[in-house]
């Protein structure tokens, strides 16, 4: 099978490419800058933007399936900024897939598309709900997922996979800030960090998405969203501790109350807005909410539908992370 992966430079995108190659697929990629995958592997790269239909069309020509994982992510930013990439870019991918007769589309979504702020406890994949999402990012992903799933028909089979909190060696989004703060002795947990949270080791998420490339033909699979996780929820405090330990640090978690955390987050957001900084503030109200709300999912249906189960346990994942930190030159 020949598969196009968009956003192949990212942590998950590159893992998807590696997984596809491992199962014997031919891989094309589309991203703005070179992924570094073309040379070592037999990957045909197209450099381009999702906003450029011709680049998109060129990248997917002759493919049997598309894994659409390119997206703008982040805690800050306007709806327009997120929508331009996540909504409009996805529409471009769908439009070109139809035009070029590509029969399968696996959309890499996010559980945040159905999260309205309430704890998710043993939850299944509820329908995306753009009106009640908690951030512009989640809202844009929700609209895009709705679009993708609404397009599902005989000619184009679509499915959405929502991996929850993907992490692994090289991750800059979850791992890097935690390690940085642990090193500075500023690793905070809110309300003791007791919220139980599902995470997904990157290779497991990639394997689930590659499984979905096959399973999307099944009538009970396509047209729906599936949450993917390791199925081993842990408390926020334990996740932080394990990540810091993998980086060779013996962390001391500092416990702050929810009220204090919210005050701090509001102040930081205000300051970042006033000073027009483009990076993410260290704490936002969205992040506080994510860190103090249980998020874990019922994986029985997903595993049966995709005929997939996680191959790397959390313990194994943390070990691999530790190896990666050990081999990496100190920064």
């Amino acid at each position: 099978m020949r598969v196009l992966v968009t956003g192949a430079r990212g942590l998950l995108g590159s893992a998807i490419v590696a997984r596809l190659l491992a199962v014997g697929d031919e891989v094309r990629t589309l991203q703005r800058r070179p992924s570094g995958l073309a040379r070592p592997y037999d990957v045909v790269e197209t450099l381009g933007d999702l906003g450029d239909p011709s680049a998109v069309a060129q990248a997917m020509r002759g493919c049997d399936a598309i894994v659409h994982s390119a997206a703008r992510v982040g805690l800050t930013g306007s709806w327009a900024q997120f929508a331009a990439v996540n909504v409009m870019g996805t529409r471009t991918v769908i439009g070109q897939a139809r035009r070029n007769g590509i029969p399968r589309l696996v959309y890499v979504s996010s559980p945040s598309v159905a999260h309205s702020g309430q704890p998710l406890i043993g939850a299944s994949a509820e329908p995306a709900d753009p009106e009640h999402t908690r951030s512009p990012y989640a809202q844009s992903k929700a609209v895009a997922e709705q679009t993708v799933l609404a397009e599902n028909d005989e000619a184009l089979r679509t499915v959405a996979i929502r991996p929850h909190l993907v992490w692994g060696p090289g991750d800059m989004q979850l791992i890097a800030p935690i390690v940085e703060r642990a090193r500075a002795g500023r690793l905070l947990v809110i309300d003791a960090g007791h919220a139980l949270i599902d995470t997904t080791y990157v290779d497991n998420a990639a394997a689930a998405i590659v499984a979905a490339v096959r399973a999307v033909d099944e009538p009970e699979v396509n047209g729906r969203a599936w949450v993917v996780s390791n199925g081993e929820p842990r408390t926020v405090a334990e996740i932080f501790t394990r990540i810091a330990l993998a980086a060779g640090l013996r962390p001391r978690l500092r416990d702050v109350s929810l009220g204090t955390a919210l005050l701090g987050a509001r102040a930081a957001q205000r300051w970042w807005a006033l000073s027009r900084r483009q990076d993410d503030p260290p704490l936002t109200t969205f992040l506080v909410e994510q860190l103090t709300t249980a998020h874990w999912f019922d994986q029985t249906q997903t595993r049966a539908a995709l005929d997939w189960s996680p191959e790397v346990s959390l313990a194994e994942g943390f070990q691999r992370l530790a190896v990666w930190f050990a081999e990496r030159p100190a920064t």
């Binding site: 007791h194 081993e232 874990w296």
Partner: protein
């Protein structure tokens, strides 16, 4: 006589001005809106014997097929109508026809010109069932004042309608007689007041009030359904007439009919009867239930402690009625006994041998007494001053008695001397003959007793005669070694004889229930055995569980009399018992009065003896003992005389209890069974309802005072003993050094005489067993498994437990005579009903034993569930048998964690976690929705005394070790997701050892949800 389907008849314009005189128009009723299938509604024109035709309305749900296998006839009370039964009808099995009638003047039936009396209503119902050609098997279900109507109908049918085959009667919240000590229910008396009665019909107040009080959960639609046929004053006339027809005195026009109905109940024979009651029914209270139970002793009873008057509206009731109907159709109790496996048949009360010695036999033998009647039945203690007999005082001792000995050899105030009695031992005698079970003839008790159990079992030894040896020693806390108050065998027997005489003098009848609210000690023991000797049923409930539980339990048991400390009398008076509320001293006073009367009658004339009481039979109920409520709501557990005897027999045989043994009773039943076992016992200075109050010093004093040999204690007591043992051992070491220095004999080891330590009541950790073993080096340490419903069942010793690692706690192999199986859990954690004994199969533990309970008291539905499959007791515990046939406990059925990989049980994981760490305690619970739950551990040791958040957990390394250990125990199950620390794990009050996992689970779920948990 014609019956027609419901058609519009349009009779609202009656010439007499009474609406619906010829019945309402059911076609105009919005049936669907009030939750009734319109197809059920029909009318029937019925001509009564006087030639008058009445139009009836009824709900008629036909059975599938031509002939119903059974017809259930439902009769409503006042002020309801057939609407009452819609829930029951909706759940009816397909092969059953259900007929729910509207009585004349009620519901949608015809409004009659004159009030219908009870007798007429009975005839009316018979006319209707004749018109419907009712035949074949019928079960009648009746509520409220429908009860007398239905029972009157039953009496008629049994005599005159052979084509109707009565299969059973189910009565809900009804009465056939006003108990004399109460008068009419206050609400009915209120409704009968001249000023109030017109309001019953003029306003819908009575109807509204009945609905509000009788079924507080009714929705507005349901209230509208009840009101539907009673919207206008003229519609409601029969409601007032019905109230007026309740006979509150003998002159009332329906009094004779009601009396005839009440009298007919004695001739019901073996006809199955189910009585359903609501504990919160202000109309028909517990006194009415007791009255019906006394009239129909064989009735099955289910009393919903929180049930209200309109029981058919209770969501549990329709299911329970159909469960009972199905059970009756299967042959009821007869089939259950027949269906029991063969080797369990001897456990049935009915199968108990007739030659069982009575429970009090050993007590009398050791006291050197013959139970035969003598010429001069004067109590030895006739002159005793009963007022000193408060139990907080040392027990006044009857007859001649050695002065109470002093514990540990130090000086202590002497117990009051025995009241003056005769010094002639021949005078030591009981006022009433004590009958032998199944044999009221004279039995020479000093001879070896007949064998216990069937003749295949080894003959029981004869008890030695030791009248002046202590039978019961009660330790009182004191500064220097404490005080030992001893009661000799003879004094205990005499006290029992006196209490027995008092019970007889007060008119206690066999089968009546007597609440015993007396602290453990000689008075309690004597009263318990006295109750048994008169055939009364002792009701025992744990005073430590608090006043609300106590009150609920006594109400649930429906006690007739109470023997209680004065402190409990106000509570007992609130329960409005029909009999006496007295103290042990009061009973002794009554005995003395009776004796004086007998004496005054003169030696020549035979004294006016109360009629001789029939001796209790082995299958008669002996005791109702309440569970602690530590594993669900408190329930009364019934034991027959044969089952109590079987419990004693298994204890005696298994622990080889001999005459030299002394039971150290840190466990309440141990304090009661000593006399039946024929061995002495000692109650340490402690609050028996709070096991953790037993200190090492308290135990040592009890051991020293009695040379106690057999200790039975809960894990909580053992923990306190271990926590307080250091100073005791230090003192002992000092005393030993001093003795050696002075060349005196060294003091005895504080627990040297203890030969057996039994730790039971909750799963016991190995470390606790090891430490308990170190405390009494000469003793064997064992942990029996059992429950209020059957004890002991299996047993493990230290060696077993030391080598045991597996999924659960090893409780050992079944004792001889005990059979253990499991009801395997399916993927959703639900036990199947096919017992399995294959090793390694997890399921709800099923047991069978001769010393198993007779059943749950007045909880028919609970009992039926706990006794299915037939012949077994379902324990509510989950576990498995191993290759060697030993039982492992994995937790309570309610503690099973339903994960995505199937059921996971908590105890094995907890044990693994404790082995893999130095945590002191841990609870394993599930969080999340059933079917995808995650496994969470919670440990105590944080700040505070209860469940409270604590930010710190254990180190990641310890967590890794615990996860690995748990995965070894339950391979394939989802791993432990988190380990939380809290202040202290909640445990039950009685044993102080059973972790309340459901409470921990709720707490953990809150914490792990993140916000505000």
């Amino acid at each position: 006589m014609t019956t027609t389907p419901a058609v519009p008849t349009g009779t609202d314009d009656d010439p007499a001005g009474v609406s619906w005189a010829a019945g309402a128009d059911p076609a105009g009723v919005p049936w669907r809106a009030v939750g009734v299938d319109p197809a059920w509604s029909r009318i029937a024109d019925v001509t009564d014997p006087s030639g008058r035709t009445h139009r009836w309305h009824l709900l008629d749900r036909p059975a599938d097929g031509d002939q119903p296998a059974l017809t259930v006839l439902c009769v409503h009370g006042n002020p309801t109508w057939s609407y009452l039964w819609r829930g029951l009808i909706a759940q009816a099995p397909p092969d059953v026809r259900v007929l729910a009638v509207d009585q004349l003047g009620m519901g949608l039936s015809e409004r009659t010109r004159s009030p219908r009396r009870l007798g007429q209503r009975i005839d009316d119902l018979l006319s209707l069932t004749d018109a419907l050609d009712l035949a074949g098997p019928v079960i009648v279900v009746a509520h409220d004042w429908g009860g007398p109507v239905a029972l009157g109908w039953v009496a008629q049918v049994r005599t005159y309608r052979p084509e109707i085959e009565l299969a059973g009667i189910c009565l809900l919240a009804t009465a056939v007689h006003q108990p004399d000590h109460l008068g009419a229910p206050p609400l009915i008396r209120l409704a009968r007041l001249p000023a109030v009665r017109p309001l019953l019909t003029a306003t819908p107040l009575f109807l509204t009030a009945t609905l509000r009080v009788g079924a507080p959960e009714l929705t507005a639609e349901e209230v509208a359904g009840y009101r539907l046929p009673y919207r206008r004053a003229a519609h409601r006339r029969a409601i007032g007439d019905f109230v007026a027809d309740i006979p509150l005195n003998r002159r009332h026009g329906s009094a004779a009919a009601l009396a005839a109905v009440a009298a007919s109940l004695t001739s019901l024979g073996e006809l199955p009867v189910l009585l359903l009651w609501g504990g919160r029914d202000p109309v028909f209270g517990d006194a009415h239930l007791r009255d019906l139970c006394d009239r129909i002793p064989h009735a099955d009873v289910h009393r919903y402690a929180d049930g209200h008057h309109l029981l058919p509206e209770d969501p549990r009731v329709p299911g329970d009625i159909w469960r009972w109907v199905a059970w009756v159709r299967d042959g009821g109790a007869g089939a259950a006994a027949a269906g029991a496996p063969d080797d369990a048949a001897d456990s049935a009360a009915a199968g108990a041998p007739d030659d069982l010695p009575p429970l009090w036999a050993a007590l009398l033998v050791r006291a050197g007494m013959s139970p035969g009647p003598r010429d001069n039945p004067v109590p030895a203690a006739a002159g005793a001053d009963p007022d000193v007999a408060e139990l907080t005082q040392p027990l006044p001792i009857i007859g001649r008695s050695p002065e109470a000995r002093i514990g540990t050899g130090t000086a202590a105030p002497s117990a009051p001397r025995a009241p003056a009695g005769s010094d002639d031992p021949a005078d030591v005698e009981l006022t009433q003959p004590l009958p032998m079970l199944g044999d009221s003839a004279d039995v020479e008790l000093t001879q070896p007793l007949p064998m216990l159990g069937d003749s295949a079992q080894p003959a029981r030894r004869a008890w030695p005669v030791t009248p002046t040896a202590p039978a019961l020693t009660v330790m009182r806390a004191g500064r220097r070694g404490g005080r030992a108050v001893e009661v000799t065998w003879r004094d205990l027997a005499l006290l029992m004889g006196e209490v027995r005489a008092g019970l007889i003098a007060l008119g206690v009848q066999p089968g009546q229930r007597i609440a015993l609210l007396v602290p453990p000690g000689a008075e309690l023991v004597a009263t318990l055995y006295a109750c048994w000797s008169v055939g009364a049923v002792a009701v025992l409930t744990d005073a430590g569980s608090g006043v609300p539980v106590l009150r609920a339990n006594l109400a649930a048991a429906g006690v007739h009399h109470a023997v209680a400390v004065r402190r409990a009398h106000p509570l007992l008076r609130m329960l409005r018992l029909p009999g006496h509320i007295t103290t042990v001293a009061g009973l002794r006073r009554a005995a003395a009065r009776a004796a004086r009367t007998a004496r005054a009658a003169g030696p020549d004339r035979p004294p006016a003896q109360p009629p001789a009481l029939p001796p209790p039979q082995p299958g008669d109920l002996a005791v109702v003992v309440f569970t602690s409520g530590s594993t669900g709501p408190a329930k009364g557990v019934r034991y027959t005389h044969a089952q109590v005897a079987a419990t004693c027999a298994v204890l005696q045989r298994h622990y080889r209890i001999d005459d030299e043994d002394v039971l150290i009773a840190a466990f309440a039943p141990w304090a009661l069974l000593g006399p039946a076992l024929g061995v002495a016992s000692v109650i340490p200075a402690m609050d028996l309802t709070r096991p953790a109050t037993l200190t090492a010093r308290g135990l040592a004093q009890a051991v020293a005072a009695t040379r106690g040999t057999l200790l039975w204690a809960s894990p909580a007591a053992i923990r306190t003993i271990l926590a307080t043992v250091e100073p005791l051992l230090a003192d002992h070491a000092r005393a030993t050094r001093r003795a050696i220095r002075r060349g005196r004999p060294v003091p005895a080891d504080p627990f040297g005489s203890v030969r057996l330590v039994l730790i039971a009541g909750a799963p016991v950790a190995l470390s606790l067993l090891e430490r308990a073993g170190a405390l009494a080096p000469a003793a064997q340490v064992r942990t029996p498994y059992g429950m209020t419903e059957a004890l002991p069942l299996t047993e493990a010793d230290l060696r077993d437990v030391r080598t045991a690692e597996g999924d659960g706690v090893l409780v050992g192999a079944p004792l001889p005579g005990v059979t253990v199986a499991v009801a395997p859990l399916d993927f959703d954690g639900v036990p199947s009903l096919t017992p399995a004994t294959a090793p390694g199969v997890s399921g709800e533990i099923l047991v069978r034993a001769p010393h198993m309970r007779a059943g749950y008291d007045r909880l028919w539905s609970v009992h039926n569930r706990a006794s299915t499959p037939a012949g077994w007791h379902r324990t509510g515990d989950v576990g498995h048998l191993d290759e060697q046939g030993r039982l492992w406990i994995e937790g309570r059925l309610g503690d099973v964690i339903r994960t995505a990989a199937g059921p996971v049980t908590p105890v094995g994981i907890e044990q693994a976690a404790l082995r893999a760490s130095d945590l002191a305690d841990v609870a394993c619970v599930g969080v999340g929705p059933a079917g995808t739950q995650q496994v969470v551990l919670v440990t105590g040791g944080g700040p505070g005394t209860g469940l409270g958040r604590h930010p710190e957990s254990v180190s990641p390394e310890v967590l890794d070790a615990i996860r690995a250990a748990a995965a070894d125990v339950v391979p394939g199950a989802p791993g432990v997701v988190a380990l939380l620390r809290t202040g202290a794990l909640p445990v039950d009050t009685r044993h102080g050892a059973k972790i309340d996992r459901p409470a921990v689970a709720v707490w953990a779920a809150g914490v792990l949800s993140g916000r505000g948990g």
